[in-house]
Homo-oligomer: 430 residues x 2
């Protein structure tokens, strides 16, 4: 079916194809499927009563009620910006409210940053693997990529210098409990990364959606904080004039359905991003901003994050235990042991392909995201799977990992019998 539109699509749309994650979420919505695919928070912990109370308070207030339904400023709801500035200050990110731009969640932050910085053909340095949504946001603006591998301590900084010499426009780094690999950049490597960024003059986008969800070990300083220390910048506006722009979100702490995130950046960058956001959506919902502020304030967010940490740690532990139980060592399967966040990353045995495994797994009523979705390069990642542990109960995790092990075992056996050649990749999973 053709319409007068399809031959008029802009050049940039050629690089845009359907997101594996989003299409998969549709495939795995049958209730009998145990899904480790999405990055969904546990709905059991959504603070529904607090949201209801907040809605009542805001909407019944003679001043706040009408304001919540009216147009707002592009920069965001001032008390929310102040709260975020105070909150990040506890982690050493000494932003003022004027350094905070509220976005329609982190995905919009990535879109605005891509709009601001990427000319077609610009190389962006990303981790391999990296967050799929960032690749989607950057692709639209014609990004090309320089990739640096990760291991259990995050980005391989020993391989970074060569990559930096190729002149990337910026680096996009997820230092904490990285999506998809679940790994955390060690303190030593953070220092190396910041020093090399400074040496080559290549700035960093630090994406930190999961930083507060740490289940063990000590908080590590953000790249922004280390960069400031490196430069020794002081003074009223100095603390944000370094090499790092910082992103975070309420999606993993309060609720993703709000679509609320933020960018912390120097004033000149915020001013430019505000102009781009005006053209993109005028501003983020006043209503959700005011409700989120009302729910989060007075210490509730901190309490809530403490509950989330305990709750998700239990689920992470359940998944690690089930993996130890159902995946014999001699299969040659390995996985990361995340200190926080929502995901772990599994490496499949030689000869087992993640896409074929997914087809088999869906028949066993279990789902995950195939690893190749998270690589900027085309032929990487077919030996990996991303497994989410936040959305299913410990019992479901146990059963789901059992099913997954069955599917992996069958794939190993088929591989040994040379049956792969007759199974072409399914077009429905592209």
């Amino acid at each position: 079916m053709t319409t007068p539109w399809s031959h008029r699509y802009a050049q940039r749309t050629k690089s845009v194809t359907s997101s594996t994650i989003r299409e998969l979420l549709k495939l795995t919505q049958r209730p009998e499927v145990i899904s480790f695919a999405g990055g969904l928070p546990a709905p059991d912990l959504f603070p529904l009563e607090e949201f209801e109370t907040a809605c009542h308070r805001v909407l019944s207030d003679a001043k706040a009620g009408p304001a919540a339904l009216q147009y707002g400023t592009t920069e965001g709801y001032a008390p929310l910006r102040e709260m975020i500035a105070r909150h990040t200050a506890r982690y050493g990110i000494l932003a003022k409210p004027e350094n905070v731009l509220i976005t329609s969640a982190s995905q919009q932050a990535l879109d605005l940053i891509a709009k601001l910085l990427i000319n077609p053909g610009d190389r962006i340095l990303v981790e391999a693997p990296t967050y799929l949504g960032a690749l989607q946001a950057f692709n639209v603006f014609g990004a090309e990529y320089v990739t640096v591998p990760t291991d259990d301590d995050g980005l391989r900084t020993d391989l970074l210098e060569d990559a930096l010499r190729s002149g990337p426009k910026f680096m996009y780094i997820l230092p904490n409990f990285q999506n998809p690999a679940g790994v955390t950049l060690s303190l030593e490597r953070r220092r190396e990364l910041v020093a090399l960024a400074d040496k080559y003059g290549i700035p960093i986008i630090e994406d930190d959606p999961y930083g507060q969800l740490r289940y063990e070990g000590d908080h590590l300083p953000s790249l922004l904080v280390l960069d400031r220390e490196t430069h020794g910048i002081r003074g009223d506006d100095g603390y944000l004039l370094g090499n790092v722009i910082y992103l975070s979100t309420f999606s993993k702490t309060l609720a993703p359905g709000l679509r609320l995130g933020w960018i912390v950046a120097p004033p000149d960058v915020i001013a430019k991003l505000v102009q781009l956001k005006q053209g993109a959506d005028l501003h983020t919902s006043t209503f959700t901003q005011m409700i989120a502020y009302e729910v989060a304030r007075g210490g509730f967010l901190d309490e809530h994050v403490r509950r989330l940490r305990m709750f998700y740690r239990e689920r992470r532990d359940a998944m690690l235990a089930a993996l130890d139980e159902f995946f014999p060592r001699d299969w040659g399967v390995s996985w990361t042991r995340p200190q926080g966040g929502l995901f772990l990353w599994m490496r499949l045995p030689e000869g087992v392909d993640c896409r074929r495994l997914l087809e088999a797994a869906i028949k066993e009523n279990v789902a995950f995201v195939p690893g190749d979705a998270f690589f900027a390069g085309e032929d990487e990642g077919r030996r990996y799977c991303r497994l989410n542990f936040s959305n299913a109960t410990p019992e479901m995790i146990h059963e789901g990992i059992r099913r997954l092990a069955q599917a992996v075992q069958a794939q190993i056996e088929m591989g040994e019998h040379g049956e792969y050649a007759i199974h072409p990749p399914s077009p429905t999973l592209n």
Copy 2:
């Protein structure tokens, strides 16, 4: 102050400058200013109680509550898409829910359409004047413009054919109570426009945020409906395979603070826009979508729109009456008489410049948007002002127009005394 970022901005950001409207809204927020500047709905009519009831119903429901705070699909909340499809069907736009994409209000619809269609240097045909936010959205993607003037019956279709011969990528048209001019495209011209679009194969983006806010006269068929009739397209999927994509929003009927709009388009266009929206913000807030659905359903939206029509008609009439009272005919000032919407458009006397007038008006504690903001060409519109009549009470409108007349009179007298040359345009108002 320079940062490592400013010399890395992409080429496209050079065309992006601060929005006059948004900067002005800040200037005019002193409580003593009567502002005709924004396009703000009247907060008195926000259905606060219905919103509160809806929040209670959704959040206290065991299934709806968690769903409202969770991630959702990019396409939008299914019951809301169905409601919009039913609603637009009453106006002859026979869309199915699959033809409806929920956007983070109309501004995001414009951003996504620009992303989908505009290559740098593409010419877009716009009305002169046209909606400022559309120019902002299009500029980021390197749009250039072909403009066609408007008069009291909307776009001058007698001048359209020459403009179409220059090969624009698409036309962007606001047929009802246009922002900023408040004029409505006549039925005869709608037919001419659709026929010429067909003849030259140039598709149309029909932006209709105000269509339901008609205060007098009969509803005129949308361009999409006339296009369908022209093509005689029938059948299950046929009705949207023509030349027109249709946009609308809840910002003027329910509440702008929700940030909810929609695009009605053929399936291939929706599929591509969904991919672009995934990269832009994953999806629009599930929470606001479910609350809006809960408020609007069961006939409430229709009742509410009837109230809005009566209320805004009174304010429009108050502004027209005040203009007749305070602007003597011999000043040579004229204005449009909108049949609906939120704005009227004033033409200033020879020699009075809208930017200088605004400076003078702000000193008199009254504000408006200078007309040049609404033109794609650089040197147009300095003789025009946009006046909003929805946000102020009839009494305030009367007083505000009195103050504006004083400011205009002073400008006329200054012009006669040759004082303009010593007043350079204020840099703060660019």
